[in-house]
């Protein structure tokens, strides 16, 4: 996923043994609060944020890691969820509404989930297969249910028209209902749901950890307005939700612990306060004036440094690897950086350490990486060769070596050389923020020293991604970030480097090597042997790095803080946020 709305958006990511190694290596600064102490029930747990609202409370529209983690903990029940525990084990799936984590057959083109008995909605009625089927069907109502993950659209065996629209238009219009009824079926006892997929998806059960594959009761569906008050199936229900105001959750009397092997709801109430000024949030956290509070945003940079520098806050903070890889896409389409030597020159001239220092340094912002796949993805990550491991690579930038590469480009591809060194120059897309204005100074110094004529497109931050995702408006170099949706680089390599992947900022589909690359990606995507697939992803990451489709990547970090009366704090790796199920009020 792109790093749009980075403050709020924590994309899903599976941490693995590699994450454990990083943790053991001391890269986590600070620690969990209340570790070892017995959790206590009761009290009100506050959460505060500058955002005016949850991006979405509607399960089919919920697509941000932090929001998914919040709602899966307190309000929704899903077929499967991530295990609510800290560390690598938290990345494993556990059955929730279902009795197991999914049974594949037919080369993983068919997946079955059987619902456990005794699970009810907040109105006391039983949750059935029909509710899950109806919930999934809502994703197809693309003119009402927007913003959510589109996995159901792309994975279920429902044909599409020439424009790419599904032949099924969702449960409101009911056009093509028979096609959906064939793709998703319920058993006669209304307890077993079967998904028939258009192609083999070995990790489909990870996709069903998204609330988009969760139940919705048809009689309570209010279309767009369901976003304001989804019917609860979890341990809490919404007592009040006002945008720019607050969301108050109270206990759901119809939920029983006997029906739920995943959740233990500790607080009596959970209240989220929206729209607080960032200065007010920082003041609350620094002074610990509301000690039973969790900060959903993180502190502002200056206060963040102070908070992490002072030992008195040690028990109320955590510094962890977030799910994102930050990078700049090198646009290799015609008329841009359509020359390997030029892209390589950009890569080696890139002053990455200055950029990291500007954003908070290696302690707070991240480390120089070597792949679009982050090490916490474990199975699919391998140290690449060349690029940042090349003897000529310097974190401060190596203008002398970059100059030699440009000299080679003058022979290999004179037109591209002339463009990037001439009046047209090399254009870098940046969001128009004060930090990026400062970054532009560093970038210009680094690239100009190598012989580039560096120019910038500053784009209003709210319009940044919609603009650069349009290839006709994209510059030569484009700032971006990405995190995996789940523990498979199938949610990294195809989206980032395939034309139809959704976030290909490398413009590589005109590249001579692209057909070969695409064939390999397609083969890897269809591979059901997981170790073999992992090897494919590693090779493809190396392929992308060898083509210099991105600048040196940064493996990002995030800082979390909370009040002194909040216990059980830990990081939930796959969700990239607090381990909400463990939080309690001391």
């Amino acid at each position: 996923m792109s790093e749009k709305n980075m403050a709020n958006v924590r994309r899903r990511l599976i941490a693995t043994a590699a994450a454990a190694a990083l943790v053991a290596g001391g890269l986590l600064v600070g620690g969990a609060s209340g570790a070892g102490a017995a959790p206590t029930s009761g009290g009100t747990l506050y959460m505060i944020t500058h955002a005016g609202q949850f991006a979405h409370a509607d399960p089919q529209r919920n697509y941000t890691g932090q929001d998914i983690a919040f709602f899966n903990t307190y309000l929704y029940r899903n077929l499967v969820v991530y295990k609510p525990s800290a560390g690598p084990s938290g990345s494993g799936l556990v059955a929730d509404l279902a009795t197991n984590t999914g049974v594949p057959s037919n080369s993983a083109k068919t997946w079955k989930f059987t619902l456990r008995p005794g699970v009810t909605w907040e109105d006391g009625t039983a949750i059935t297969c029909a509710d899950v089927k109806y919930g999934v069907s809502r994703t197809f109502a693309t003119d009402v249910i927007t913003d959510g993950p589109a996995y159901a659209l792309s994975m279920l065996a429902i044909p599409q028209d020439a424009k790419g629209n599904s032949m099924y238009a969702g449960p409101y219009k009911k056009t093509g209902q028979a096609l959906f009824d064939k793709a998703v079926t319920c058993s006669k006892d209304n307890r077993t749901i079967t998904f028939n997929l258009s192609h083999s998806v070995a990790d489909f059960n990870y996709a069903t950890s998204y609330p988009a594959f969760g139940p919705v009761k048809a009689s309570k569906d209010t279309g767009d307005k369901y976003d304001l008050h989804p019917l609860s199936s979890g341990p809490y229900k919404i007592a009040r939700y006002t945008i720019n105001g607050e969301m108050d959750l109270v206990r759901n009397a119809k939920w029983t612990k006997a029906s739920d092997s995943v959740r233990t709801p500790y607080p009596d109430n959970v209240t989220v306060r929206f729209g607080l000024d960032s200065n007010v949030i920082d003041q609350i956290m620094l002074s610990d004036s509301i000690p039973n509070t969790v900060n959903l945003d993180g502190l502002q940079p200056v206060n963040n440094r102070a908070f992490f520098a002072d030992d008195k806050y040690a028990s109320r903070r955590m510094n962890v690897y977030d799910p994102y890889v930050r990078y700049y896409g090198l646009n290799s389409s015609a008329g841009h950086l359509d020359c390997l030597a030029v892209r390589k020159a950009v890569f080696f001239a890139w002053p990455i350490q200055s950029l990291i220092d500007l954003a908070g340094g290696t302690v707070f912002y991240g480390d120089v990486g070597d792949s679009p796949i982050k090490p916490v993805l474990g199975l699919d990550y391998a140290k690449t060769t060349g690029n940042t491991h090349d003897a000529n690579f310097k974190t401060a930038g190596n203008p002398a070596y970059a100059k030699s590469l440009l000299a080679q480009a003058k022979t290999d591809c004179p037109a591209t050389y002339a463009k990037v060194t001439g009046d047209a120059g090399i254009s870098i897309d940046l969001p128009n923020t004060s930090t990026q204005q400062k970054a532009s100074v560093l970038l210009k110094a680094g690239l100009d020293a190598a012989g580039f004529n560096t120019k910038f497109n500053f784009i209003p931050s709210g319009q940044y991604y919609p603009t650069v995702q349009d290839i006709t408006k994209q510059g030569d170099v484009t700032r971006a970030g990405w995190g995996a949706d789940w523990a498979n680089a199938s949610t990294v390599i195809p989206p980032l480097f395939l034309k139809d992947g959704g976030f290909d900022l490398s413009g590589n589909w005109g590249d001579a090597v692209y057909p070969d690359f695409k064939a390999k990606v397609d083969a890897a995507s269809a591979e059901t042997n997981r170790p073999k697939q992992a090897a494919d992803w590693k090779a493809l990451a190396q392929f992308a790095m060898d083509q210099y489709w991105i600048t040196p990547p940064i493996f990002g970090k995030a800082q979390l803080d909370w009040g002194s009366k909040v216990g059980g704090v830990a990081f939930w790796d796959p969700q990239g946020t607090f381990l909400f199920p463990a939080l309690y009020v001391k």
Binding site: T146, D147, P171, K173, G223, I243, N244, Q283, G502
Partner: protein
């Protein structure tokens, strides 16, 4: 007078129509695509088109404008089947970001902004006029010097500084308001103390900036009026200085101030964006800034712009009428 008011009302209507057209044109000719911008993360062409249809942006701008105008009088409906949404007349449209009819959103936000505007208006008029009169009355002496310092500080401190200072070093430092409760609407009828606590500091923030300006205006107007012939005549007739000030000087000196006050008040009714943002007040200012910066929400942008324009135009009308009553010279003219 009736003819005058009718003419001004027609003018008001024309201005509002013009404003609505201009907002539609600006929105449609910006170099960004709202359908793409609000399409979500996993967006592909078919989804963008579906989103465009959902937002009602798949028709030319003049048709969008006409639908808006039509909705004001006949209401509007959105989506189909069991997901249909109806916003009754007068409909300002539907906010897909906030999942509510815009009329409802405005209805919720307006009392907040109105409370803020009225509270700060009262404070700044009392403070600004009192200090201005004192400064004029004791020109060159201590009260004048104090007023000068106040004016300097008040005009030098923008509200985003004074608001933050008040919030961080007064409200939060002395725990005057629980920050968790900030921004929750409290009715003055059911919770007057809570309402007072909620609004007093934002009102002071706004009033400080305005009062400084009004102190300066009042002082210079009173000094200027005091040197007029009719004041000299009043003195020659043996009237006391208090009577002269109340009955003659202030009436003449305050007329131009009233004009400005009316416009300032109307401007505030459109939303005090910075103050509402700092104190987390869910008023029209926050509503519009969220629509512009975060949501790109045309119905909300359009409605809050129209509302702000309407307040200013109507305030102009009211001030013009009130002017005639306050200053006899205007009536004669």
């Amino acid at each position: 007078m009736l003819k005058f008011v009718s003419r001004r009302l027609a003018y008001t209507f024309a201005v509002l129509v013009l404003v609505s057209i201009v907002v539609f044109i600006i929105f449609n000719f910006l170099p960004i695509d709202p359908a793409r911008l609000t399409c979500g993360k996993s967006c592909f062409p078919a989804l963008i088109e579906a989103n465009r249809h959902r937002l009602g942006l798949d028709v030319p701008w003049w048709e969008q404008w006409w639908r808006f105008i039509h909705g004001l009088f006949a209401g509007r409906s959105y989506a189909e089947g069991s997901a249909a949404i109806v916003c009754g007349a007068p409909s300002f449209g539907y906010s897909f970001n906030q999942h509510s009819c815009v009329t409802t959103l405005i209805g919720q936000a307006f009392p907040v902004t109105f409370s803020l505007a009225v509270g700060s208006f009262i404070l700044w008029m009392i403070l600004g006029i009192s200090l201005g009169v004192l400064a004029a009355r004791f020109k060159g002496r201590m009260p004048d010097r104090i007023a000068t310092v106040f004016v300097l500080v008040g005009t030098s401190l923008p509200t985003f500084i004074s608001g933050l200072l008040i919030l961080l070093f007064v409200v939060l430092k002395f725990n005057l308001i629980n920050p968790i409760e900030m921004g929750q609407w409290m009715s003055p009828f059911t919770n007057p103390w809570g309402y007072f606590k909620e609004f007093i500091f934002p009102c002071i923030t706004l009033a400080l900036a305005y009062a400084a300006t009004y102190t300066r205006f009042t002082r210079s107007n009173v000094i200027e009026t005091s040197s007029e012939d009719f004041i000299r005549t009043a003195k020659a007739k043996g009237l006391s200085s208090g009577v002269i000030l109340r009955k003659h000087t202030l009436r003449a000196a305050l007329s131009p101030i009233l004009t400005i006050a009316g416009l300032d008040f109307a401007g505030l009714l459109g939303g005090a964006i910075i103050t509402e943002q700092i104190f987390n007040l869910p008023g029209l200012g926050r509503l519009s800034i969220k629509a512009v910066l975060t949501d790109y929400d045309l119905p909300v942008i359009l409605s809050t712009t129209l509302l702000a324009a309407a307040f200013v135009v109507i305030a102009n009308l009211v001030v013009d009428i009130a002017y005639a009553f306050i200053d006899p010279r205007v009536r004669v003219a």
